[in-house]
Symmetry: C2
Subunit: 145 residues, 2 copies
């Protein structure tokens, strides 16, 4: 699971910024590495606690914040406003979420190109695509109503 470990550089990254490598941070990184896709903040807290019952929420959230600054994470907000962390974002992409069934999909930049360019030209607004979650109703759930 740690073959071509994409996390290997984190420690160095942190140190280069004068930040520190602590057992707590390592645990959080391990938890994040052990799963891909999306996680909510409380998911991370819970999984850390499974491994170390002494884990404190504030530490987790602060670490998540740091990791986002360093670029290893990205977060956006779910349907209910809960934080959703997206591990190791390859290229920036938005999310689509069905209000009915709760499934989510990734939206590549190309699909949103029109909107992005439009807002940029008309308003000079640069969209933070990675933070964008589009709610609505998917094909399967559109049947009724």
């Amino acid at each position: 699971m740690a073959l071509a470990d994409p996390w290997s550089g984190v420690q160095a990254q942190l140190r280069a910024r004068g930040l520190r490598w602590t057992p707590q941070r390592r645990l959080i990184l391990e938890v994040l590495a052990a799963q891909d896709g999306h996680v909510t903040g409380s998911d991370v807290v819970e999984r850390c606690r499974e491994r170390d019952a002494l884990t404190t929420p504030s530490t987790v959230y602060r670490t998540l914040e740091v990791l986002e600054e360093v670029g290893y994470l990205h977060h956006s907000h779910g349907p209910d406003g809960r934080q959703e962390y997206h591990v190791l974002p390859t290229r920036e992409h938005a999310h689509l979420r069905c209000d009915v069934c709760g499934r989510t999909w990734e939206v590549e930049p190309d699909e949103a190109r029109g909107l992005l360019d439009g807002l940029r030209q008309a308003r000079g607004f640069r969209v933070d695509l990675g933070h964008l979650t589009i709610a609505g109703r998917c094909r399967d759930c559109t049947a009724d109503s």
Copy 2:
């Protein structure tokens, strides 16, 4: 401010659904009517308390929920995931929010047309525009970096 009062029908609307008209609900409606644009949930709670110190948060949130079901309100989530209520939505529109200065703008359906149609055709996904908040950086804040 209450000339052609747009709230006049609420009581009837509620009753028609077997719901009730209570002093608490009237207060909340008054607070909402006394201001247009966006409000966060806690804003509403606070303003209700200014008028009636006994106001309970749960009552406010539950009423807001009811009012949304009836169609007098719309809510989406702010930058930090906090709930933002949008009073009396005329036509459905999305929001643009600058991460730097915090200002927001409304985005008319036409501007997002491309994205909406694209997602609809490619994936059969119907976007809930009113719930969409697009984060990014506005023209003024794009100067640096």
